[in-house]
């Protein structure tokens, strides 16, 4: 098939899914935090608030777009676009699954596979900081400026440990192309321990995984590193002057960065789309089991509902889940869905960790943040890198 | 095999001690200094056993290439380390004896100032000595050669507060310059003639060369090398620095001026032996396996080497007869033993002289360390006339010194005898008169060594209490002589064992792949005569200094002229002063300073200065202080340059 046409199709699919994920991540976050704090969370709009994102979008789009008089116009407008653009570009090199053949067309579940994928993502995420910094500066507002300063300093400081943490598994996997990286993690030790980055010999990369996650939190300005937008010190930090869609695009950028970081972690440390235990032990049935179980749960709750409309909604969900379970049993789509399932499962778990941390941990103080970066993360990452290099050199 | 580790370890020691030594505690300094040398000794052993040197291996040279140092035209000098059996012997001697002496020094220097400095220098010396031994080409050898010279200078002048020490250091350095000048000329000749400085290639080329074409250049090279060797190994006429070098601390005298550095010349000549064997009048031309070319000219470099060695041995021995400073005595005996080695080299018994080099390293190091222990016992006193009767106070030192003295005196089956007899036999093969002189010298050696021994240990103790020599010993200068601590006498004991048994290490056989032995069993009586000479010397010394101590006085009075001549070391120093030093000093003061420097150079310098000031006054306008104006000028220049390239350069 025509190369450009194929790319267009793939792009359409990926972007569509990605946007919905971003939108619903918001919903998931609110739900999770609500339940962590023993609340219910959004449930007015649509069943269990499932339409909340839509409502939010409508609200944000239709809101009045305030343009403060004292801002630097050009950069004030430019900043959100920079932020969201660079956040979204990163997705273009992330592989979601193996190379598949659909209707005689052989293609990879990925927009494009660069030889230097990791470096590319790294550079792009490095550029993302301009959005925040510019927003802070252009708003011409003390709080915003503080936020911008903080975020740029924080980004620079945490890029180092992040890079070092990334370098360690690259030493073992010996490639920069994300697809190669995932292929390098295929297979199992002793037939059941997956060869994922975090288990990979000669030196399991569990430490760099943790370091990477921490640095990732900082890079995405998430709690406990959300100094740039620390509500109770800086009102809203760098986007204090922003409203409506521009404000929304900052949020989009943040969520997109979260997803990117989770994808990278999955690809480098959690073996991408490779199942957690071999096919021959029936790992292919895991999704079926999960969906079936959730369907059963729905039916059970429908049987004795907590709220009146559960009687209507939950059976519907149950049926949907059953459908999904059935879908995973169909051979013609199985080979597409299984890798996707594993990949998205891992990504979602990491995203859940993001939200979970936000719900539990308090915020750092700024000097603590910096000291943590330079006196803990950096040395540890270095040591980890050295050990890895040594072991790789000794047991090639 | 990681040969580079061998020299690097002492270098590390030097860096650590030299940089942080001031802040380190003495035990730490000891640990670093001794530990580094011990480690490199162990590494040497491991390397050699890995190369099978102890099990009949290492027939060929084992070489490691590190990087290309100089590459200009056809000349290509690289930093290589090489090990063959000769190097193996040297390595064992240097690191082994070196380690022992380091251990000893920790005790001997315990009360000295500049402790860390001392050990830093000592380690640095080890580093350069190992470079000298390991280097696979002339240039590396030269690097090590100059390095050990530097360290010897630093260590002789270690007590730099005392004039005589610094003077001695300067003397050693300057005298060595003469030798090094010859050596460097030789290196230039080699490089010019062979386009390489690598030993193996040069030697193979030499072996392959017909004599009558190339003998001339070889003669030149070998004579110049000899000049270098005489400088470093204290041979006539450049031996004068070594006795003064005793101004340094005793471990230094033992390590540098007896065991290792001064033998560098011998090593160097042995290393370049093929060149010597291809010069006019070399014994190779007579030996059965010779190339059959007729002898060209009456006397060649080998003869000169032999004669220089023999003369040195004889003269130094005679001087040694009348010295009263115990270290001076041993210094002259070192010179004379080195003379023996040169004699051996000259008569073509290379393996024998390397053998003697090793045994000499053992017993002479032992003698010096013993002397040091004695001096330590008498709280810094060095004059033997103020000693005596020490056998009561320092029994261990006495026993060990006795071993050393017997060894050097050529007592049968001891190390000294084994090697010295080999040399003498070879000398007899070459020319009987050399043998007889050598034997006579051996007798004298035995005499003065035991003279020192008896004067020190027998009779009554004549030293006055707390005779504080300038060694900073005052902090513990109590009257009674006292035995040295264990760290000092244990190395002594080890060395004593070595100098007793060292003769049974069959170095000549070990070195056969490099220096083939002449076949033919020499006559037995040669050994007997040599031994008899040695024993006679001992007996004479006993008679003179134990039985009737008055004899020497009367003898000295009867042969007054000879005695004064010997006692004043043949007035050589005075001679050199009047002939060389004075004219040079005067000339430089009158001509170079008064005329050249003041008139010419200063004039030029001032002229340039004023001109520059004038021009600067003009150019100052350009210094507007605006960076961008400078940048503009730079750009202008660039444009011109590009214009040049574009219109001239690119049109080729």
């Amino acid at each position: 098939m025509n190369y450009y046409l194929l790319s267009l199709i793939k792009t359409a699919i990926v972007v569509g899914i990605f946007m919905h994920v971003l939108a619903y991540l918001q919903w998931i976050e609110r739900k999770v935090i609500a339940h962590v704090q023993l609340r219910v969370g959004p449930r007015r709009v649509g069943p269990h608030g499932l339409l909340q994102p839509l409502a939010d979008v409508i609200k944000l789009v239709t809101k009045e777009d305030i343009l403060p008089s004292h801002v630097n116009k050009v950069f004030y407008f430019m900043a959100p676009f920079i932020a969201v653009t660079f956040a979204l570009i990163a997705i273009s090199v992330i592989p979601f699954g193996p190379v598949i053949t659909v209707g005689g067309v052989r293609t990879a579940m990925q927009l494009t596979d660069l030889n230097i994928g990791v470096l590319f993502i790294f550079g792009i995420s490095g550029l993302g900081v301009y959005g925040v910094a510019l927003a802070g500066w252009a708003s011409n507002n003390k709080y915003a400026l503080m936020g911008g300063l903080r975020s740029s300093a924080q980004m620079i400081s945490y890029e180092l440990p992040m890079a070092l943490a990334l370098a360690a598994p690259l030493l073992i996997l010996n490639t920069l192309s994300l697809r190669e990286i995932v292929n390098g993690q295929e297979g199992f030790y002793f037939g059941f321990i997956p060869r994922w980055g975090i288990f990979q010999m000669p030196f399991p990369q569990i430490f760099s995984f943790i370091l990477f996650l921490i640095a990732g939190f900082a890079e995405t300005n998430r709690v406990p590193f959300d100094l740039p937008e620390a509500e109770n010190e800086l009102v809203a930090g760098f986007h204090v002057e922003y409203a409506s869609m521009k404000f929304a695009s900052f949020f989009m950028a943040e969520y997109a960065n979260m997803v990117t970081v989770s994808c990278i972690a999955t690809l480098l440390f959690l073996g991408g789309w490779h199942p957690i235990f071999p096919e021959k032990y029936g790992s292919g049935l895991i999704p079926v089991a999960i969906f079936a179980a959730s369907a059963a749960l729905c039916f059970f709750h429908a049987a004795n509902p907590a709220r009146p409309f559960d009687k209507i909604t939950l059976p519907v969900f149950g049926v949907l889940f059953l459908g999904a379970a059935g879908l995973f049993l169909l051979p013609p789509v199985q080979f597409i869905l299984l890798p996707l399932f594993w990949f998205s499962a891992k990504v979602l778990i990491i995203l859940f960790v993001f939200i979970w941390v936000r719900a539990t941990l308090p915020r750092f103080r700024y000097d603590q943040l910096m000291r943590f970066a330079w006196t803990f993360m950096f040395p540890v990452a270095l040591i980890n890198l050295f050990i890895t290099a040594l072991l790789v050199a000794l047991f090639p | 095999m990681q040969l580079w580790l061998i020299p690097i370890l002492p270098l590390l020691g030097f860096l650590l001690n030299g940089i942080f030594g001031k802040r380190l505690a003495k035990p730490v300094i000891n640990a670093i200094a001794v530990g580094s040398v011990l480690l490199s000794f162990l590494w040497v052993v491991k390397t050699l056993s890995g190369l099978g040197a102890f099990s009949g291996g290492l027939e060929q040279t084992y070489k490691e290439h590190y990087y290309t140092w100089i590459q200009s035209g056809a000349l290509n000098i690289s930093v290589d380390f090489a090990i063959d059996r000769l190097t193996a012997v040297m390595l064992m001697v240097v690191t082994g004896v070196g380690a022992l002496i380091h251990i000893y020094a920790t005790g001997y220097m315990a009360h000295e100032g500049g402790y860390y400095r001392f050990f830093a220098y000592l380690n640095l010396f080890m580093f350069f000595m190992l470079i000298l031994v390991l280097g696979a080409n002339f240039l590396l050898l030269f690097v090590g050669w100059e390095g050990v010279g530097l360290c010897s200078y630093l260590l002789i002048g270690f007590y730099f507060l005392e004039k005589f020490a610094t003077d001695a250091g300067n003397k050693a350095f300057i005298v060595n310059r003469i030798g090094d000048f010859g050596f460097s000329l030789a290196i230039f000749l080699v490089g010019f003639h062979f386009n390489t400085l690598d030993f193996t290639t040069v030697m193979t080329q030499v072996k392959g060369m017909p004599i009558e074409t190339s003998a001339g250049i070889f003669t030149a090279i070998s004579l110049l090398l000899l000049v270098g060797a005489t400088g470093k190994s204290a041979q006539i006429p450049l031996y004068v620095w070594l006795p003064d070098a005793m101004a340094g601390p005793t471990p230094v005298s033992a390590l540098i001026h007896a065991a290792t550095m001064v033998t560098a010349g011998v090593y160097m000549i042995a290393r370049t032996s093929p060149i010597y064997l291809h010069t006019v009048g070399s014994p190779a031309l007579f030996s059965p396996d010779s190339l059959g070319y007729p002898r060209i000219g009456p006397i060649g470099p080998m003869e000169i080497v032999a004669i220089v060695g023999l003369t040195t041995a004889f003269v130094a021995a005679t001087i040694g007869l009348a010295q009263n400073d115990i270290k001076k005595v041993f210094a002259y005996s070192t010179v004379s033993q080195l003379g023996y080695m040169f004699l051996g080299l000259g008569v073509g018994a290379f393996s024998a002289s390397i053998f003697h080099l090793m045994t000499h390293a053992f017993f002479k190091a032992l003698l010096f360390l013993g002397a040091g222990s004695v001096i330590h016992a008498c709280s810094g006193e060095q004059d033997m006339r103020k000693m005596g009767g020490l056998r009561k106070y320092t029994p261990i030192t006495m026993v060990t010194l006795l071993c050393g003295s017997l060894a050097i005196a050529g007592f049968p089956y001891l190390s000294g005898a084994a090697s010295k007899d080999l040399i003498l036999e070879a000398a007899y093969e070459h020319a009987p008169w050399m043998y007889w002189v050598g034997v006579f010298t051996a007798g004298m050696t035995a005499f003065y060594v035991f003279r020192a021994f008896f004067m020190t240990f027998f009779g009554e103790y004549k030293g006055k209490p707390a005779a504080g020599h300038g060694h900073g010993h005052d902090d513990h200068g109590h009257g009674e002589p006292h035995e040295s601590p264990a760290v000092m006498w244990i190395p002594l004991a080890i060395l004593a064992l070595l100098s007793l048994g060292g003769g049974f290490i069959n170095i000549p056989h070990f070195l056969e792949p490099i220096f083939p032995l002449q076949e033919g069993e020499p006559a037995r009586w040669l050994e007997y005569v040599a031994t008899a000479a040695g024993l006679g010397g001992i007996a004479l010394a006993y008679l003179f200094y134990v039985v009737s101590p008055s004899l020497p006085e009367s003898l000295a009075n009867t042969f007054k002229g000879v005695h004064t001549l010997i006692y004043n070391k043949y007035f050589v120093d005075e001679f050199y002063d009047s002939t060389v030093v004075e004219p040079v000093v005067g000339g430089s003061r009158q001509l170079l300073w008064r005329v050249t420097d003041v008139r010419l150079i200063d004039g030029i310098a001032n002229g340039i200065g004023s001109t520059a000031r004038g021009l600067g006054g003009i150019l100052r306008r350009a210094q507007s202080g605006y960076i961008r104006s400078y940048a503009a000028w730079v750009i202008a220049g660039t444009v011109l340059a590009i214009a040049y390239i574009g219109f001239m350069g690119a049109s080729r």
């Binding site: 050009v74 950069f75 660069l114 030889n115 230097i116 470096l119 590319f120 790294f122 550079g123 792009i124 490095g126 550029l127 900081v129 301009y130 910094a133 510019l134 802070g136 500066w137 400026l145 911008g148 300063l149 740029s152 300093a153 980004m155 620079i156 890029e159 890079a163 920069l176 | 503009a632 750009i635 202008a636 660039t638 444009v639 590009i642 214009a643 390239i645 574009g646 690119a650 049109s651």
Partner: protein, 166 residues
Amino acid sequence: MDALLFMIFAAIAVICGINLVVQTHPISSALSLVGVMGALAALYLLLGGEFIAAAQLVVYAGAIMVLFVFVIMLLNAGTEKKMTVRPLGKYLGAPFLLLFLGMIAYVIQRILPGSSPVVFGAFQGGTALEIGRSLFTVYLLPFEVTSVLILIAILGAIVLARKEVD
């Protein structure tokens, strides 16, 4: 295709470069410099220097320029005053510059007359693999020396920027 891409990115680079010069506010200049760097990264990719392109993004755009922006924001540097061009510069500068450019163009034309046009993927030496290989074999010493240089730079920066403690 290659030519088109070259044109696009070259245009971006030149426009951003001009912007860098004419803008009076440092932060605008900084951003336009980032633009230049991005465009150059793309051009490096065209020339087969994928590693260098990534390094350009990471090091230059991602680190150095962020540092610049950070400092500009920290010092809150205002727009710079209108400068008084000295007559020399005013009347000599522009022609001189044009001369310079023309000359360089000329020289380039002379030095590489008919070299084959730049096609994407024609040169494979720029992959991370190749770069690493030559970096750790031929250029090992310079590489190590640069590490020392960076160390010194870090020390210098710390010493310069730290508060005076007395």
